[in-house]
């Protein structure tokens, strides 16, 4: 009987910890210190994607496309993301990148300042255009931009068209500046983050990329359903895919062909569908002049 009791106890005690055996590690045995910075690899194709949405979302969203490009070109792809459009533009300017997905506003700046070249542009919802949406939380009483007077507002990036230029232009038309109109405003650096902040009532309103809002509306309706669009801007030229000035023409051509042929392949179509892009097309620089006009107006003011 006693034997029985003690064997039961032993069994119970054994149940206490059922874990894999620990591995012995000597933490004092260390390697020589080395640079934490990555060493540039010349064999790579460096592609930057501006922070239209958060870097992670971007990564996820563009991963397949990047892999496809890598596969088509037979080159390793290195994704480069930066928090601001300006940083990406600088990298393009400094030829630290071979390809970049940039915002329309950033393109205008790059193109105009250091000859950033437009490679292809996507066609979404049938047009190579997009809008700026002024959104408020669903619970907000605001129905027009003017209702957001004295409220907290979220911009995306200072260089962003839809996230900064367009609302500033709308305020200018109201003879207002963000500083005068809003009680407070912030830069979220990405559109999805701005949507999240509105949905969570962290800000009373935000200006976001229509493509991003629609993308998220399809992907995460729970989020977008908590936002309401109170103003839709005029259409603008869609954010393009650019290359630095002086990129090897063969590579430039190869790259353009890859993008343009995406909609002609099964894999390409699947990638495009995920990105909510119909196809890539070659677009004239003039298509971004409306934006240039707004820039001038805002700056001239």
């Amino acid at each position: 009987m006693l034997l029985l009791v003690f064997s039961c106890l032993a069994l119970l005690a054994g149940c206490q910890r059922q874990q894999e055996k620990p591995v012995k590690i000597d933490l004092s045995a260390v390697e020589k210190p080395q640079s934490a910075l990555p060493v540039p690899n010349q064999a790579e194709l460096r592609i930057a994607i501006s922070a239209v949405i958060s870097p992670k979302e971007t990564f996820v969203l563009y991963k397949d496309l990047l892999n496809h490009i890598s596969e088509k070109l037979g080159m390793r792809i290195r994704l480069v993301q930066r928090e601001t459009y300006a940083e990406v533009n600088n990298l393009v300017r400094d030829k630290q990148l071979d390809l970049a997905f940039v915002c329309s506003g950033a393109y205008i700046d790059g193109h105009d300042q250091f000859g950033m070249e437009l490679l292809v542009a996507p066609v979404a919802y049938g047009q190579p255009l997009y809008h700026s949406y002024i959104i408020v939380p669903t619970t907000s009483p605001a129905t027009k931009l003017e209702d957001l007077h004295g409220k907290r507002f979220a911009f995306t990036d200072p260089m962003s068209n839809t996230g900064k230029l367009a609302p500033t232009y709308m305020l200018a038309q109201l003879h207002e500046t963000p500083e005068s109109f809003f009680s407070n405003f912030i830069f979220t650096n990405s559109h999805d983050r701005s949507i999240e902040m509105v949905a969570n009532n962290l800000v009373d309103g935000a200006s976001v990329d229509s493509l991003i809002w629609e993308y998220l509306n399809g992907k995460n309706p729970a989020l977008t359903s908590r936002t309401r669009i109170i103003k839709k801007s005029e259409p603008y030229g869609i954010p393009p895919v650019v290359v630095p000035k002086g990129l090897a023409p063969e590579l430039k051509e190869k790259l353009r062909r890859v993008f343009l042929q995406l909609d002609q392949e099964e894999t390409g179509r699947m990638i495009l569908a995920r990105l909510k892009i119909d196809r890539f097309v070659i677009l004239e620089d003039s298509r971004y002049d409306s934006i240039r006009k707004m820039q001038r107006l805002v700056a001239g003011k």
């Binding site: 009987m1 119970l12 910890r17 933490l27 260390v30 390697e31 990555p38 971007t58 990564f59 928090e83």
Partner: protein, 885 residues
Amino acid sequence: MSLARFRQFFWQLKLAWKFSLAFVLIVVVMLLGLYAGVASLISESIYSEYRDRGLAISQNLATNLIDPILLDSTPRIQLLLKNAGETTPEIAYSFLSGPNGRIVSHTFSGGFPTGLKIINQPGTTEAYRLQTIETERGRILDIAIPILQSDAWTIHVGFSGSAIEEKLARIRQTIFWISLLVALLAIGLGTWLSRLITRPLDALAAGAEKIRQGNLDYRVPSAGSDEVGAVTGAFNQMVATLQDDIARRTRVENALRTSEELYRSLVDNIEMGITLIDREFNVVMANATQGKLLEKAPELLVGKRCYQQFEKRENPCPHCPGIAAMQEGKTVEAVTSGIRADGSHLTVRIKAFPVVDEHQRITGFIELVEDITGRLQVEKDLANEKERLLVTLRSIGDGVITTDVAGNIQLVNQAAEQLTGWSQAEALGKPLPEVLRIVTAQTRLPCENPVKKVMDSRQIVGFDNQTLLISKSGREFYIDDSGAPIMDKEGQVIGVVLVFRDVTDQLRKEKELLKIAKLESVGVLAGGIAHDFNNILMAILGNLSLAQLDPTLKKSTHNHLEKAAKASVRAKGLTQQLLTFAKGGAPIKETTSLTEVVMDSANFVLSGHSVTCHFDIPEDLWMVEIDKGQISQVVQNLVLNASQAMPDGGVMEISCHNHAALPEESTHRIGRFVVLAIRDHGTGIPTQVADKIFDPFFTTKPGGSGLGLSITNSIIAKHGGKITFETTPGSGSVFSVYLPAAEIEPETETLVTKTAEPRPRAKTILVMDDEEMIREVAKAMLEHLGHEILLARDGEEALSLYREKMTAGLAPDLVIMDLTIPGAMGGQEAVGKLLRLNPGAKVVVASGYSNDPILAEYTKHGFIAAISKPFQLHELERIVSNLLA
């Protein structure tokens, strides 16, 4: 301890201990289980929480790192890792590995440990991977999380377990102490509870023990109204019932025991063997007597076959009454005999009766064995005794008649038959007077019925011996009779016994005795006359013998004197016979030959008779020690009888011979006898009187005294001899007298006249006699013998004279004293006094009473010799010369 031993140990414990132990065991096991379970659960929970927390922090960190990674912002990465380590103390380290396993950033200040580089590499599909590592800083959970779902980037967070281990240790300790406390409380509570439960049970057990020890009055105190209380109540009730039951049973047992003891006492003490035997003849029970009968311990018989034990048989005894009893279903008796171990015979009566069980089936039998050996012997002895008594009664010399109370005859014995002439058969039932016809002798009138006399007086009644019984045939007997009542045990008279005796002879003998008394008177007279006669004869014979000495006498004168002397001697014999006849007397023995005594006595009797005598006496006949006078009388009597048996005359033969021993009595001290046989050729002695001839007063001769042979027998007996006779009726008888032979040879008797012995020198002799003529003749005779004589008349004078002479130095050499001095001191008295004067004095006793016992035993009285008067000169001379030699 093995399970079996524990179980054994456990069952030996008291109930309280069992409860306590069981409770403790259960509590301990439960607590241990609880402890292990809780500790495990808490451990698991804490570990899980710890892991989840680590994982959450790590995942948060990983999420936060995505952007800096994607943005290639190493300083931001560095900052994030640093901040994570600072805000979460559990984070021991963190590092980010990039493409190709390059460590992009880490928190190790002294360099990145090489060991960490290769561990915990999550697969491409894994969201995270955990690996516990053992380091000098303690146990650490390495949480590896791939970033951007690629193997290119992985954040590792080292989550320290030491805090959690400490926490767990504290929790375990707390649980342990709580468990211990609870266990102790539980043990205490368990013990208290078990005591609470078992206390009434203990009380119940103690009560049961007290009751077991006999205290039936004890009641267990009530233990409430629960189940134990109910049990206690029921127990007390049970005890009460039990008590009643036991009391009743005790009474029954006592009765049973008494009965059993009685039965056992009866069975064991009864003088009867009792055996219980079953149908298979096995002994079931045997009592002590049965054992004694078989000389075995009774318990050894039990279980064994009866026939083997009782009779050493291999099969049931053919005479077994038990078999018959079982077959017949009733008591059966048998008598059988056997032999005991000591060889003595044994007779037993066996009574067997069947034993029946409650179903009326015969299960065996009981044998009652009675040893009737003794009883049979007693019965036999009793029958013998009865027979003997009857025979005795019948044979008894006295007549015995018994009657019932009515006086009807019940028994007549042989003597009574002879006396009455009625046989018992004739007399039975007849009234007594018809058979016992008794009359008074003088009046011849019928006596009073003795039965009536006895019944009236109810005591022993004597009858006048002048009662005359007239027999059936008319004979008459004088009877002496008595009657006595026969009483039973209660003292009731159930009959009368009459005892009577023919006293005709007795009366006749009484008459004879009367005659003897007369004769005795004559004897005394004769004795006196004889004494005087002897004195006179003494004087005559003395003087004659002195006169014969005168040489001047003429021849013819001498012859006359000689004849006168002989006549005087015969006269002396007559007086002697007269004396012997008168008084008997002890023989004065002297050693002599029988020849002269026999021839003289026979011739004396037969002188002038028609019967002649033929002597046959050998010369070498042994000497005998006899009183000549008495033996002479014997010879005279026998010769006289013989001559009277031959009335027509004839020759009788008298012979003597030596005999080595008496025919029947060879034990005589000497064993040598001289036999004198006197044979006649007469009529012989009739057979019927042969036994009585030596009886006094028995005579067949008309006018006979019946004393002759009686005196003869008496004399011979006094000489240590014996007389026998043989007789042939019609042809004669022979009487043989056996006399002891003398031990020494006889002195050669020599007459003074014939032998010229030299006379002894003159001595002084004192003669004491009251008769002057005796004194004178004695003086003359002794002086003739040359002695000087002193004379005294009586003892006083003799003593005075002796003293006077002794004083003068002339003490007499010899004193001759007369035994009897009328009116004065006689010889018997004087000799004592004289011997006191002079113990060396020689005194001779002389007496005319030759049958005086003193003469026979003179030495006892101080005399040195005896001489019976009258004595002659030569007798005196012989004694004197012998004494003075």
